[in-house]
Symmetry: C2
Subunit: 328 residues, 2 copies
């Protein structure tokens, strides 16, 4: 049942093991500080259910000692009662995930035992130099009964040998899935193929699922995601109308229109976008491909200055390019 294997006309098949994770609230929340209305979140939940989405990520489990609850919407914290106000006991086939950042989450205290929570999966986001903490989090959260993933961010700036070491560490851990994360949107499909091969080798050796989380700085988030599908990657992140920090993510509507599994339905996604996502943009939320993101992606830099340039509607692209080149 392998999808998209070379010489196999893979586009005529599908792998039932492929799972789609909607990260609209979590990555999109970085655009609007997680201020989504309850109506929005409820409609998103319903749309994802109708569309056959496998996981819906509600946000972060951020430490309230570090982050002021008055400065962020509730999905930065994902309190149990807030989740339940949307999903009840989530008596559905769709699983609920949240993200826990290394250094920003008081996981031992704030992540409840699985039996007391409606959350199914916790995704641990880490930089490569904080892997030991990430592993401690993974083991704690796994022991509480959750599915776990490890999302090593910004791998385009990591040393190959460090990636290999991190993957071996994860292979030997209790983590369920390991994500390829292109935080800066700087990876070309050809490189993504090589990364997918590397991660898949660890996945096959240690029986871990491999995932992909792409950014759209160079209009490659969707292309890189389906390149990963061809390479055997099974856990696919996407967001409604590609909402996400900076250039945004892989578009859920593009991804679902690509996938061949009949369980996925495009129409509820289109309806949600027309009913809810367009209003977010109209009301001032800013995300999506733009030239400053191309430049930081191309130069393998964090998008923070590009986000500022785009928010300020500064279109002096050539000057901004000079500025970035001076940072190199």
């Amino acid at each position: 049942m392998l999808n998209n294997k070379k010489g196999n006309n893979g586009l005529m098949h599908y792998r039932p093991e492929i799972k789609v994770l909607d990260a609209t609230i979590r990555d999109g929340g970085l655009v609007n500080n997680f201020y989504f209305s309850d109506e929005f979140i409820k409609a998103l939940y319903r749309a994802n259910l109708k569309a056959g989405i496998d996981y819906m990520e509600f946000g972060y489990k951020a430490d309230k000692e570090q982050f002021d609850v008055d400065k962020f919407g509730k999905w930065k914290f994902c309190d149990e009662q807030d989740l339940r106000s949307i999903v009840g006991d989530n008596d559905t086939d769709m699983k609920i995930s949240i993200m826990a950042d290394v250094g920003r989450c008081n996981y031992k205290q704030d992540i409840l035992p699985r039996s007391e929570s409606v959350i199914d999966m916790v995704r641990v986001a880490t930089y490569i130099h904080t892997m030991p903490v990430a592993l401690d989090m993974i083991e704690d959260i796994h022991a509480k009964g959750y599915e776990t993933t490890c999302n090593i961010m910004a791998i385009s700036t990591a040393q190959e040998e460090d990636i290999d070491t991190a993957l071996e560490m994860l292979g030997k851990s209790n983590v369920d899935a390991i994500y390829i994360v292109d935080s800066y949107g700087s990876i070309y499909p050809e490189q993504m193929r090589r990364l997918a091969e590397k991660y898949m080798a660890i996945g096959e050796k240690y029986h871990k699922t491999i995932g992909i989380h792409a950014h759209n700085n160079q209009q490659l988030a969707f292309a890189n995601t389906i390149e990963c599908v061809a390479g055997g990657v099974n856990l696919l992140d996407a967001t409604m109308a590609e909402m996400g920090r900076g250039a945004g993510n892989c578009s859920l509507e593009l991804l679902v229109s690509f996938l061949k599994n009949p369980k996925y339905k495009l129409k509820p996604i289109l309806k949600f976008i027309e009913d809810y996502m367009l209003d977010l943009k109209k009301n001032g939320a800013v995300w999506g491909y733009d030239i400053p993101y191309l430049l930081t992606g191309r130069l393998n830099q964090h998008p923070r200055t590009a986000i500022k340039v785009v928010e300020e509607k500064d279109t002096k692209y050539a000057d901004y390019y000079d500025f970035l080149m001076e940072q190199e």
Copy 2:
């Protein structure tokens, strides 16, 4: 010197044979009926020269018996004196191209002998069922002294056997280059790899250059173009800020930022976009990725209804999807 061959870390090399063609006026002209100011065209010519672009396409050679000159800007017709008013004798390394559509060009009369023209290359655009006319045009234009290409449009709807036959006919003709054209933006990179292999086999057999002209309906124009580069395709179409009919083309700024040949410069392109392309959009020209184009691309349909929906700012995507499914 092969670029991007698998296992060869091709991203560290470049092929000097790669040529970039700027199709901003020609494909962009389909958005604004070719009404560009002379200042715009002159600035584009200068920007392309500075950026190291290899070919600049000025527009179509449309038959004035068929098309009313009062209803289109002059670049639909590309009269010799209009070209010369911009480029003089074009005493530069950049070549000038125009496009001639099968059935819309009085080529025997309107295309002058090469010695009387500043044009270097004529690209013949055809559907697969009009190949015999295309070949007559190619031989006429070749005999006049021009470089020629054949751009077989809408191949995503053609029969494989017909494509093979057309490629053999072209192989035996005097055409210099054959283009893969994804008119509907419906081709995924995996399919594009197979097409590139097919076209490259003919190119190697008959010593023809292979080109790629992609559309961005599924945010894959750039990805498909660089996929073709990896497969040996050497003639690459792109446009400033991806201006082109419907979802637009491969973005010139993305392409030039990707290519490794030091002759290509990104900054003049960024400067042109900020100085000229943004104003086109502000003044009402509409192009670029949008959900209705995703849907026609996905369904392998002509984008004409999507263009109408987008122009009318109709965001009832789910209804539009139903409408398209009824056409299937």
